[in-house]
């Protein structure tokens, strides 16, 4: 059971990070550059999962994704499957839950690139989308790394919302954080210890790696 939970968690974290990089990058760009009066509310919305209890998120997702909910009903009609207690439902929940961990580092990296290099690229004939991919993205490499690592690790550590939306279906939604919780319920402390220590070590190693890469404060980029 433990190994399958680890496997599910890794899958969930990977898929979530990929989805978040795809939708988070344009969002981060907009947040870094927009002067719209919507920027502040959207920024706050993105940051909301940082401060919101995961049970609040879990509750709303349960309502939205449940078979009677607006999204869940549509999903059932379209696919014949329910979103709650499914891997897909977990991905949707995790994407929301880990959103700030991916969007904020990319946003800050884009902001740090600033208008200077983008204007320089335009003066060299680069169209905006060209400059985005050829200048802004590579110069933000470190932000992307931080984003991917934080998003991955945070998804791996997700508990409350996943518990409410996914329950604990083995091989489907029983992620490692829940497995730890259940091992404890089953009085299997050895297994709980093993998983907890593994996660602790993994998270720590990843953080040390990210901070070491980011320690050099001067703008030497990843090459």
């Amino acid at each position: 059971m433990s190994l399958s939970a680890v496997w599910i968690s890794l899958q969930l974290a990977s898929v979530t990070v990929i989805v978040l990089l795809v939708i988070g990058t344009p969002l981060a760009w907009w947040l870094a550059n927009s002067r719209s009066r919507w920027r502040v509310p959207v920024d706050a919305l993105v940051a909301l999962p940082l401060v919101l209890p995961s049970t609040v998120l879990g509750f709303y997702m349960l309502i939205l994704l449940g078979p009677a909910g607006p999204i869940g009903r549509f999903w059932v009609a379209a696919t014949g499957e329910t979103l709650t207690f499914s891997f897909t439902g977990l991905v949707i929940t995790s994407v929301l839950y880990s959103l700030p961990f991916v969007v904020q580092p990319i946003r800050d990296a884009f902001a740090a690139v600033g208008r200077g290099p983008m204007e320089a690229a335009a003066s060299l004939g680069a169209r905006p989308i060209d400059a985005f991919f050829s200048i802004a993205c590579p110069q933000s490499a470190r932000g992307f790394l931080t984003a991917a690592v934080l998003g991955f690790a945070h998804t791996l550590g997700e508990f409350g919302a996943v518990l409410m939306v996914g329950g604990s279906i083995p091989g489907e939604t029983r992620v490692v954080a829940i497995a730890i919780y259940e091992h404890v319920e089953m009085l299997e402390y050895g297994a709980a210890h093993t998983l907890s220590a593994g996660l602790l070590l993994f998270s720590f190693v990843v953080l040390v790696a990210v901070y070491t890469v980011n320690r050099a404060r001067h703008p030497v980029l990843l090459r």
Partner: protein, 235 residues
Amino acid sequence: DPVRVAVAANFLSPVEVIASAFEAAGGEPVEIVSGATGQHYAQIINGAPFDVFLAADQARPARLLEQGLAIEGSVFTYALGRLVLWAGDGHQLPDNGFAGLVDHPVTRLAIANPRLAPYGRAARDALQATGQWQALQPRLVEGLSVGRALHYLATGNVSHALVAASYTHARGRPGGAWVAVDPSWHESIRQDAVRLVNGPNPAGARAFMTFLKSAEAQTILQGFGYRAAGEVTEP
């Protein structure tokens, strides 16, 4: 697909043994998800894809039937459970049994959440029936399920717990001593099983339910301190 069984926390250990026997007898693999009866119920309402629900009461399976989420005619009482008072390592049981709890050095008493777990409800009823509920209130700790109540005892965080008798037979049970709670102080714990509409493996579910009724399974659960209920279907 395996047979997915949502089981009330108290019955986790027996069902693991039963599932092994079922598989050994040529049944499909069984996946077990443990939790409080009320938690399972809420999840099933919200679309959780379980084949079989082994509840710790009769009310929730009945409600699922009403809501069309359980299969008509599949309900049966698979076990009658009992409550024990457990004193953790280094703590004593009250000399005059359960009723003496209130005068006993109890640092904390763990029970399951009465609104989610039938064993929690039985514990509350018994404490009320013996007039100890109010006095013990400040020392009460609630676990979401009866398993979590025991977990607080196992980690030494409470001195006493009111839990299912089956735990006295479980592998890895915590140390200490226990004493049965007189069943007359609470409603009897009649545990119903039901097959569910949203289960992905109806055939497997049917086979598992049949096996649960078998003498072999009933013998196993009696070995965990349950009283067999035979093939008593709900009137």
